[in-house]
């Protein structure tokens, strides 16, 4: 798992530009046969007994989109996903073709209110013509990550690489009798766009999503439910994400009998992805398994053990009779 996470961290996959990561996933999934649709969603299907289960993970990174190239070669951009101005200043961003840029702003003095329209990316191009050879309007870039491994923990990983790493492990080894489609979905950071297309195509009886969730075991973290690294995968409960109580109960039993320690959490915000996926489904039960991540402005610390256990748990529950 550690190796997969490290490998995927090296591949830049901004929303809408996940091709390179998709190719790597297809390689990892071999000899399983993967299908790719026009959006770039990758699916691997195990045909089997009903009910039809769809397991989703997003594969894209948080990103920015270039909307203008200045005559002196600087790039102007918009945030594509939920990124705040101050999270980007001074950070290195990378385009899928390898072009690297540094994010700057027109004027940053004390008391300046940063806004994206005053920010730019310096890719080292001397003029517009040179810049146009490196980057096109509409291209996306994601933040560069160079994780380090310390024991079981991974420091500085892109948290967006965790769900796909877990799903790839399970999809490759799954040999159960259930009908399962594993979907590696694009544009998840833009509100489950790829996932929504897969859902309308696959029309599943049950949906399981693999995600990451903020760990709360950091100094003076506001008093939320304690979610610690190394204490196992997280089962998302509660009304915000409309997970199914019956399915969740089976997941809990499965974890207990397999000796997998799990934590439970209520999601504190209703994100657009959840809303969108729900609007695509007609009353289909849903469950979410997440890995706790200490998230520091897009770079995270995780325990690879939690990811390994999440994969183990997923693999076990897919063999259970989850719905009547």
């Amino acid at each position: 798992m550690k190796e997969t996470i490290e490998k995927l961290n090296k591949i830049i996959a901004p929303s809408g530009f996940e091709d390179n990561l998709g190719k790597e996933l297809i390689e990892i999934l071999k000899p399983m046969v993967a299908d790719t649709d026009f959006m770039g969603n990758i699916t691997v299907s195990h045909r089997g007994k009903a009910p039809k289960i769809l397991v989703l993970a997003h594969i894209d990174d948080d990103s920015i989109v270039v909307n203008h190239i200045e005559k002196d070669g600087f790039l102007r951009f918009y945030p594509a996903s939920n990124i705040k101005e101050q999270q980007l200043i001074g950070r290195e961003v990378v385009f899928p073709n390898g072009t690297v840029g540094l994010v700057g702003a027109e004027e940053v003095t004390e008391g300046t209110v940063l806004s994206f329209d005053k920010m730019f990316i310096d890719i080292g191009a001397e003029d517009k013509k040179t810049a146009q050879k490196m980057v096109s309007i509409g291209d996306h870039a994601a933040i560069k990550h160079t994780p380090s491994v310390v024991g079981d923990r991974i420091i500085g990983t892109n948290s967006c690489k965790i769900p796909s790493s877990i799903l790839a492990h399970v999809a490759k080894e799954f040999d159960g009798a259930t009908d399962v489609t594993f979907a590696f979905c694009v544009q998840g950071r833009l509100g489950a766009r790829g996932a929504s297309a897969v859902i309308t195509r696959e029309n599943p009886d049950l949906l399981i999503t693999i995600e990451t969730i903020f760990a709360t075991d950091t100094p003076n973290c506001p008093n939320k439910a304690k979610l610690n690294l190394d204490e196992g995968p997280v089962l998302v409960v509660g009304a915000v994400t409309p997970t199914d109580k019956h399915v969740n109960a089976i997941i809990e039993e499965t974890a207990e009998s397999a000796g997998i320690k799990i934590q439970k959490a209520v999601k504190t915000h209703y994100d657009i992805g959840d809303a969108r996926m729900n609007s695509m489904l007609s009353a289909v039960p849903m469950a979410t398994i997440a890995v706790p991540c200490r998230n520091y402005q897009f770079s995270s610390v995780i325990s690879s053990n939690d990811a390994v256990l999440a994969a183990k748990l997923l693999s076990k529950i897919l063999r259970k009779k989850l719905i009547k």
Partner: protein
């Protein structure tokens, strides 16, 4: 331009698009098409092509931003709320048309000498405005404009040389382009989709997509022109007279690169001047249709409109004809080469 004028002068805020539908139905009847409707208020016309050829949907929304009556005051004024996004700063003292009878009205407000210091220096919000239709009391106001009556800006479409002035190019410009494009000959199946309620959150799009499951959707839109003083180049959405606007991304969709490039290449080969939508803002029905029925590739072609979502917008004739040419050229290319793989 006669049809465009009729379309723009018709009243049709979200949910109240009947008048616009009638204009379009009448136009298509003249061309021998039978209207297809659904319970939501979407309107479709289908031109069957040859089997095996791509099924292309041309989509524009029927609605415009407007208001609806939510109450009546003792003085006979109407209280309204906006349906669709309208900036409060463009509202005061504007002429409006109320209901299908098109009663004349004005968005009245407190006189400056009645305003306290804070009010005087603040933007007057819609809730502090009332539509005055000249009714003498509440009973008369209720009789002439009952609850749920729609209200639109009173703007007559006019030609100003190379430019047209009107209230609702977003998205009657798109409706007009579809009306014109449907006259073309092609072996592809063309589905004209006129959807309701886009301004309230793409309400009609999913029903349209699910009903026809097209192979590609071309969204024809009106978009914001940003060629105004003090707007830096990188914050300009588009420029009037700059040709049809091709979207690479907005808040609702990333246009699939292969499809966008095919559209751009078509414009270049057909020598149609075009421009990018320069800002990543707004959204269209494409944002909703892209993930219906397993995923539908969408492109967006728009007319640059100055002062969009206000009582008066301007659009250049050249940009509109460019939109029609580009749409037709793109369909012809799809017919010839098929869709990108």
């Amino acid at each position: 331009m006669e049809l465009l004028k009729k379309l723009c002068d018709a009243s049709g805020p979200p949910g109240y698009e009947e008048e616009v539908r009638q204009v379009i139905i009448e136009h298509f009847k003249g061309l021998g098409f039978e209207p297809i409707t659904d319970h939501t208020g979407n309107l479709f016309f289908v031109k069957e092509g040859k089997p095996g050829k791509p099924r292309i949907m041309l989509d524009a929304h029927l609605d415009e931003v407007g208001f609806e009556v939510i109450g009546h005051s003792g003085d006979g004024d109407l209280r309204v709320k906006s349906i669709g996004g309208i900036d409060d700063r463009v509202l005061g003292a504007k002429h409006v048309l109320v209901g299908s009878k098109k009663l004349k009205g004005v968005l009245g407000m407190k006189a400056p000498h009645n305003q306290d210091h804070n009010e005087y220096y603040a933007v007057v919000p819609l809730k502090a405005l009332a539509v005055d239709i000249g009714a003498k009391d509440k009973a008369e106001a209720e009789k002439n404009a009952p609850l749920g009556t729609h209200v639109v800006f009173d703007t007559v479409t006019e030609e100003w040389g190379d430019v047209i002035k009107g209230k609702s190019f977003d998205d009657r410009a798109g409706c007009w382009v579809i009306c014109k494009a449907m006259e073309m000959t092609t072996d592809c199946t063309l589905i004209a989709s006129f959807t309701f309620g886009e301004e309230l959150g793409m309400l009609g799009a999913k029903f349209s997509a699910r009903r026809f499951a097209p192979d590609i959707m071309i969204s024809l839109e009106g978009t914001s022109a940003g060629d105004m003083p003090e707007v830096p180049e990188h914050q300009q959405c588009s420029k009037m007279h700059g040709g049809p606007v091709i979207t690479f991304e907005d808040k609702s969709i990333i246009i699939p690169r292969a499809y966008r490039e095919m559209l751009e290449d078509t414009a270049k080969k057909s020598k149609i001047e075009y421009q990018y939508k320069g800002t990543v803002t707004g959204g269209t029905n494409a944002g909703r249709m892209q993930f219906e029925t397993g995923g539908i590739p969408c492109v967006v072609i728009a007319a640059p409109c100055r002062y969009i979502h206000s009582p008066v917008s301007l659009v250049a004739k050249k940009d509109l004809t460019g939109m029609i040419e580009l749409t037709k050229a793109f369909i012809t290319r799809i017919d010839k080469e098929g869709l990108p793989q």
